[in-house]
């Protein structure tokens, strides 16, 4: 039983971490306001 709890906690932590990474990538995917052609927006 305790093993199941630990495993579920580890899997949940991994999923949350992967989701955070995905969210960060999604932010990189999003259009930045005020950038018309994008080339210089992130310099």
């Amino acid at each position: 039983m305790i093993q199941n709890v630990i495993v579920i906690a580890i899997i949940t932590a991994a999923i949350i971490y992967a989701a955070v990474i995905l969210m960060r990538k999604r932010r990189a995917f999003s259009v930045k306001p005020g950038c018309s052609d994008g080339c210089d927006c992130n310099k």
Partner: protein, 653 residues
Amino acid sequence: MNDIRHNAHLTIALAGNPNAGKTTLFNALTGLKQKVANYPGVTVERKTGPWQLNGKQADLIDLPGLYSLDATSLDEHIASQIIRGEQDSVAKPDAVVAVVDSTNLERNLYLVTQLFEFGVPVVVALTMIDQFEKHRHEIDIDMLAAILKTPVVAVNAKTGRGIDVLAEKVREVIGTTPQIPYDFDAGAREAGPNGKIFARYNFISNAVQESVWHSDHEKHRLSEKIDRVLTHRFFGLVILVAILLVVFQTIFSWASLPMDLLEQGFGVLGDYVRTSMPPGILADLLADGIIAGVGGVVVFLPQILLLFLFISLLEDSGYMARAAFLLDKLMSRVGLHGKAFLPLISSFACAIPGIMATRTIESRRDRFATIMIAPFMSCSARLPVYTLMIATFFAGQTVLGFISLGAVLMLAMYALGIIVAIIVAFILKRTVLKAPPPPFLMELPPYRLPNLRTVLQNMLTRAWLFLKRAGTVILAISIILWALTYFPIHQVGADTAKDCGASTLGECLPSEQIKKSYAGQLGHLIEPVIEPLGFDWKIGVALIASFAAREVLVSTLSIIYNVGKDENEESETLLAAVRDARTDDGRRAWTPLTALTLMVFFVLAMQCMSTLAVVRRETNSWTWPLFMLAYMTGLAYIAALITYQSGKALGFE
């Protein structure tokens, strides 16, 4: 003409390469009274200041730092407009002071040869002369002035050397018609579109040879002789191939021992967890998920370290620039910008810095074309995949009796990426990104002994990044993938026990359980699509997982073969597990042909979310990353299909 000018308000422009000492000279001439203003509609700064020209006041304009006046970039365009008198707010200059860094004469004089053609008198101001003379080099200023047919003055803004002479010479040339020292157009007529550039450099080379004496003349001559061989269109390529073969062969042979030790270490750790913990789900997660998944990738650390050792040595010695020069000839023929070579070379480590380095390319179309092909360069994340396949199926085999087949295959994978990139660039530059390539000349850095500290620092940085990735992203993905291969757990009844490989009631055999897991279901779903490539559903699951990051393929295979291992099967290394893996119908899942097909797929497929994110950011459009994902995946599938089917037709396995 001269008299009229003497009574009018004078405008003098200061032009020169970036870091030639232009601003220092500007401040010395104007007494630091410059004002800063913006040109209309652009962000390029203009500085103007008063300059006392032997009693007569002039406006001194500091032009942006320029390498040429080809008008390909915004700075060059504005500078050309000012010299021609086409900028509304600025009077046409009466003379141009060309600031030339004497420690880098060849590059700096290129701009001077262009300034002559604007019909405005030019006076050359030689800066950094103290540094030049400190190295016991000598320059015959009169000879240089005679060759250039324009006054040349050595100046030192800090000591005031030559400042008065410069003012005097500028006063003298105002109102005169400048002489062009050489018919550069003749070169263009003879040698095609880039002929004028070559004519300029030939003229500069002769001028420098006539007027400059280098104390390290012999060293220069030796360097030139070496360059002639290393950048030769045939021998240069032969040497490049030979060097790369030696590099790859060394990587395989040197890395095999530490890699075996690491693999055994992770094996021992997995076994220790199994024996010291009570059997159950936690031991399964630790041994089959975390240790197998992360360990499967970490064992490739020695290869990564050696790859970056050699990349650093080649870069630091100056050879990489020669290799780039060889490829640049080829790239310019397909229409790629010369500045594309640096981003592409960076992409061999990782496509992300490579794509960001394309910002140096002025033309949007040239920049996008380079971004679109950068991921074809085999990055370090592909190395574990190539190494796993080569070590499993081609280790110990040789070509011509002494060249390792593994090294040849590795070289072939790198070459395939470059060739496909060139073909794709050729197509893009003639269709969606059609534009003429601007001319570009490359400066070759001097040869030098690699700096041990820089090399070690580069290796350690890369090793840290690799381990950090293994300990974070790969660890998280390994845990999730293990869960997908482990759940749902199938409890069987008497009627279904046979289907599940179980002789009694209880759980399925692991090899059967994994087929019914979420990952198994997903793998079976895509199996019809990947079957023509010779891949079974397990490889399919690893392929899907590797779209997050390429090296995840290795950890996924490690997890799948560990989780799917039945209890009576002995624990084995990943290499052995891949070699012995069977499909559902009992055939061998992997053959040398399957391994080669997978490598071809990995060379061409777009399997990196981070790269897509950077492309989205750099192009500010969804179109380009989606286009990249679609065309690269399509291309990878077709190339893998051709490899597998033609290999099969030829009787290979």
